[in-house]
């Protein structure tokens, strides 16, 4: 096979003829991938032999202890054995790539198998493929990943150099996000509260059906929903299906609108957003169960026959109504989509607060360390739902994760900003512009190796291991 060799005029091109046996120092990619594969194998084996409900993070203080250990063990290793080749290897790209590959593999499984519901195929469920995020192979690979990432980050932070700030923001930020997210899930509480008019509720139900007492109470005053106008279209009900051809054939219902649809010219003579059927007419009312209705006139474009009548999508206590155009075809109205919905509720807290609040989708309300979310309602009743479901979430580790997010955001800006420079530097290295060992001593390069006294040694390793194909 034709080789791709960017390298032109220097020693890097040397092909390595004496392949280093695996597990002989210095380690490189083979060792990294073997370890990753071994971890995965062990993980799946453990899963097979100890099936159960899956793992979950321990809660405070144990998750805190684990977090501290995840930091202290790499730190101790780095400080006590700085020259050990394996310790150094742990903070270099090959080990990282192995860890990244292991995590990628488990995440890929997550992306392929439907999660959270057993597939019914014994071995698939038993080795955890349908609940990867709680499985042992995922736990092992992510732990290894965090370990390697910590080793890398520590080596570049001691001693601290301003130049490494971008590197630290990205790597430490990511470490904080992942460690904080996983450990924090041990203290994460999510419960749902079902509110109905005029009853104070001071507890919620978690996903396993357990009741959790809350330091606050909510009393629903009113559930409020705004809707988009309904749409109308021509329906082919000969086939028995009430499917309108495509959504682009639907028009928004609005008084005075005229147009053309499936061979008919129509005009919307009247439209009420909330109305009730009175004999064969509709009249506007504002009451539970009211539904939108429109009076439509349709004239067949060619034959000229005219039909006039009311259509409605109905509601939980009103039947829908079509306007028959010709055999098997009718004008129909769709159920309006919700535009926004919210709960108006009275909030009582243990500290004696008592006030009216509203909780809307995308606008949670914070109180007593909990965030309250508009979660759901009884969709059989739509805007007339007598109940509202609020989700209460407590996540004490959120500030940790958000700290990591902010670091990564800054890191991304740094990456964006420096993109070209880094690219150029790498290129020069590969180009062999200064591919002699001195290349590693150029300001950029030596900084990348800060904390190491063996820059020239590393470049020798590169030469020895280089094999382009």
């Amino acid at each position: 096979m034709q080789q791709m060799e960017p390298v032109t005029s220097n020693g890097i091109r040397i092909r390595n003829t004496s392949r280093k046996p695996v597990w002989v120092s210095p380690w490189g990619y083979p060792e990294a991938f073997l370890i990753a594969a071994a971890l995965l194998l062990v993980g799946f084996a453990l899963e097979w032999f100890s099936p159960g409900d899956g793992l979950s993070a321990p809660s405070w203080p144990w998750n805190g202890v684990i977090g501290a250990m995840l930091l202290l063990i790499p730190l101790a290793l780095h400080l006590s054995l700085p020259k050990n080749p394996v310790v150094r290897w742990l903070s270099q790209v090959p080990a990282s790539m192995g860890a990244i590959a292991a995590v990628t593999f488990t995440v890929l499984l997550m992306g392929l198998f439907l999660q959270g519901q057993p597939s019914g195929i014994g071995w698939i469920d038993r080795i955890g493929l349908t609940s990867m995020a709680k499985s042992r192979p995922f736990l092992l690979s992510i732990s290894w990943f965090l370990f390697v990432l910590a080793m890398t980050t520590i080596r570049r932070s001691i001693p601290f150099r301003g130049r490494n700030i971008g590197f630290l923001l990205n790597h430490l930020g990511l470490w904080i996000v992942i460690a904080g997210g996983i450990l924090g899930s041990g203290d994460l509480q999510r419960v749902s509260m079902t509110l109905s008019d005029g009853q104070a509720v001071w507890y919620g139900t978690d996903r396993d059906g357990r009741t959790v007492e809350l330091p606050l109470a909510l009393e629903l005053q009113r559930f409020h929903m705004e809707e988009y106008p309904p749409k109308m279209g021509v329906l082919n009900h000969e086939t028995g299906s009430l499917v309108i051809r495509g959504e682009q054939d639907l028009v928004e219902v609005e008084r005075g609108r005229t147009g053309h649809m499936s061979g008919w010219d129509y005009e919307i003579l009247q439209f009420y957003a909330e109305s009730a059927r009175i004999e064969d007419r509709f009249e506007p009312i504002h009451d539970v169960g009211a539904a939108p209705a429109a009076n439509v006139r349709a004239v067949h474009t060619e034959r000229g026959d005219t039909v006039v009548g009311w259509i409605t999508c109905g509601s939980f206590n009103m039947k829908h109504q079509f306007l028959e155009l010709e055999k098997g075809r009718a004008m129909a109205m769709t159920v309006p989509q919700s535009k926004r919905y919210m709960s108006l509720a009275r909030l009582y807290t243990q500290s004696g607060d008592n006030r009216m609040i509203d909780i809307e989708v995308n606008h949670p309300y914070s109180a007593e360390g909990w965030k309250l979310y508009q979660f759901s309602y009884d969709d059989r009743f739509g805007k007339w739902s007598p109940i509202s479901i609020i989700e209460a979430v407590r996540d004490p580790w959120l500030p940790v994760v958000y700290t990591g997010f902010i670091m990564m955001l800054l890191g991304a800006v740094y990456l964006f900003w420096l993109g070209k420079e880094i690219g150029t530097e790498l290129t020069q290295k590969a180009d062999g512009v200064n591919g002699s060992p001195h290349a590693q001593d150029s300001p950029g390069a030596s900084d990348r190796e800060s904390g190491s006294t063996e820059t020239a040694g590393r470049s020798a390793v590169i030469k020895q291991e280089t094999e382009v194909s």
């Binding site: 960017p6 390298v7 890097i12 639907l250 535009k339 990564m408 990456l415 290129t427 590969a430 382009v468």
Partner: protein, 264 residues
């Protein structure tokens, strides 16, 4: 302005851009043709911009809801990135390629307008929605160019005409594209916290967004470590784009996505 005028908008923009590309190649013979390229390019952009703004106004919501609408943004950013790359690196083919991609994507919207003006559901009505989508589409457009750069580098390597410039270009695009992917992930997470109560739910779309991010991460580190390993790096980059496409279009067809909350 609505989708009904889009075929015209498409024809005009595509025509103007095609002249711009022709001008770029003509400029090899007649340097003054380059001015024509700039003019026609920006005229095409202006037409599309007016359409997007008009559509935004008429829908009364940001047009970022359906796949068709995201393709519209893709068709907007792709030529822009191609143009900037062309200015910066004097690579004519990048401009030609990105304009071709834009025409393909916008053309899909003409032939298959899955663009019905669906209402914006409450969970999408967030200040994070616009930045989240724009940042992602921008990243996708950039990374698409990087994929074609990778293929070009592989081809150059095979035919023995490898040029360092190609590689540098790939690196730059990935650094910037990856930075935008990171922003997109984090904006999405923060938005998820506000809308659904948690920043990460292992939803299939999230899982694939993470996978996409990781593959580009791998590329960056392969390049950072042993920059002479060009071939594996370029294969990674080409593969990464396939993962990206699965994330964008394919997820909906996977068994894992039966109850995803994402609609595009």
């Amino acid at each position: 302005m609505t989708w009904s005028v889009f075929p015209t908008v498409f024809a005009v923009s595509a025509g103007l851009w095609s002249v711009a590309v022709a001008g770029v190649y003509l400029a090899r013979l007649k340097p003054r043709a380059e001015i024509m390229s700039h003019l026609f390019f920006w005229a095409g952009m202006a037409v599309l911009t007016v359409f997007i703004l008009g559509l935004w106004g008429s829908l009364d919501r940001p047009p970022m809801r359906t796949l068709g609408e995201t393709r519209l943004w893709y068709g907007f950013f792709m030529p822009l990135i191609g143009y900037l790359t062309w200015r910066r690196w004097q690579l004519n083919w990048v401009l030609a390629y990105s304009i071709l991609m834009a025409i393909v994507f916008l053309g899909i919207n003409v032939l298959n307008p899955d663009v019905h003006d669906r209402a914006l559901m409450p969970a999408l009505q967030s200040i994070w929605f616009v930045p989240h989508v724009i940042v992602y589409i921008f990243a996708y457009a950039l990374l698409a160019v990087s994929a074609i750069v990778a293929v070009k580098a592989l081809y150059e390597g095979r035919s023995g005409r490898f040029r360092m410039k190609t590689l540098t270009l790939a690196d730059n695009m990935v650094y910037i594209g990856f930075a935008f992917l990171t922003l997109g992930l984090i904006f999405g997470a923060i938005w998820g916290k506000e809308a659904w109560g948690h920043y990460w739910n292992w939803d299939p779309k999230e899982v694939w967004a993470l996978l996409t991010w990781i593959v580009y991460l791998a590329y960056i580190h392969i390049r950072a470590h042993r920059s002479e390993l060009v071939r594996p790096a370029m294969w990674t980059l080409a593969l990464a784009f396939i993962v990206l496409l699965v994330c964008w279009f394919g997820v909906n067809y996977l068994p894992s996505a039966q109850d995803s909350i994402h609609t595009y």
